[in-house]
Symmetry: C2
Subunit: 151 residues, 2 copies
């Protein structure tokens, strides 16, 4: 019997398709972060099945080992469970853990970016202006900022 | 005659001392960014001498090759000039180049951090709140965010 094709009945494939191999952030870190963000925001839920590593790798044109590494890390962190022959599933009851991870990650990154701006001599209003412009875009964390931001 | 000790008559040593070997950002990238920020903000100026790689490495407890790599990259970018026996100096007339680099870098990092927040389900007001709290701190781009931000 041929292996069952993954049918995207949740937002996982769409969410994970936003990775960017050209970002400075490692692809496996992007995948791990996006899965955390998806669970924290409620877009992904306990019992949701994730795309098989092989299919996701083909779809995104990345190495299957990269996907496997991210999934394995998240298994270790207690977020995912691999069921032999069935696939990779999100555990139930991990929302709070994900929210804490996201809070820590995002505070760290905002602190870094804003501090860089202040150190480079940007005024608070200039920085707030850039932040407000991001809200007007369709945010893709690891994508190239839209041209509207680069003025 | 012993080698002349570097005397900090500009803000370079203080600025570069804020690097953090535990950051996710490579130390040589931190050094390169901080020198760009310093020139863009006017804290460092053309003709300023930078600390010798060996002394900076000892002071910051990092590998001398890391400092050399950053200095060499910045020479290639046209920001620095090495004068044999005299040291490493900031070129004149590079402010505009540095400001453009900083704008691009900071827009990219703000876009990434804010997009991560939105994707994780943070509201614009939550994100603005974190940004405003950063302005109330002494910002150290690659440092650990102060506890006041982690609420």
């Amino acid at each position: 019997m041929p292996r069952m094709k993954y049918v995207s009945d949740n937002g996982a494939l769409e969410l994970l398709s936003t990775i960017n191999p050209n970002s400075n952030v490692s692809v496996y870190v992007q995948l791990e972060n996006l899965i955390h963000f998806g669970i924290a925001s409620g877009k992904l839920k306990g019992k949701d099945r994730l795309p098989p590593a092989r299919e996701l790798a083909e779809k995104l044109d990345i190495n299957m080992n990269t996907v496997s590494k991210a999934y394995r890390d998240l298994v270790v962190m207690g977020l995912l469970t691999t069921r032999r022959g069935l696939g990779v599933f999100i555990n139930e009851g991990v929302e709070e853990q994900c929210k804490q991870f996201c809070r820590k990650t995002i505070v760290q990154h905002l602190y870094e970016a804003v501090s860089e701006g202040v150190t480079a001599g940007f005024s608070p209003d200039e920085i707030r202006g850039i932040v407000d412009k991001v809200f007007q875009t369709e945010p893709v964390p690891y994508g190239k900022p839209p041209a509207s931001l680069e003025l």
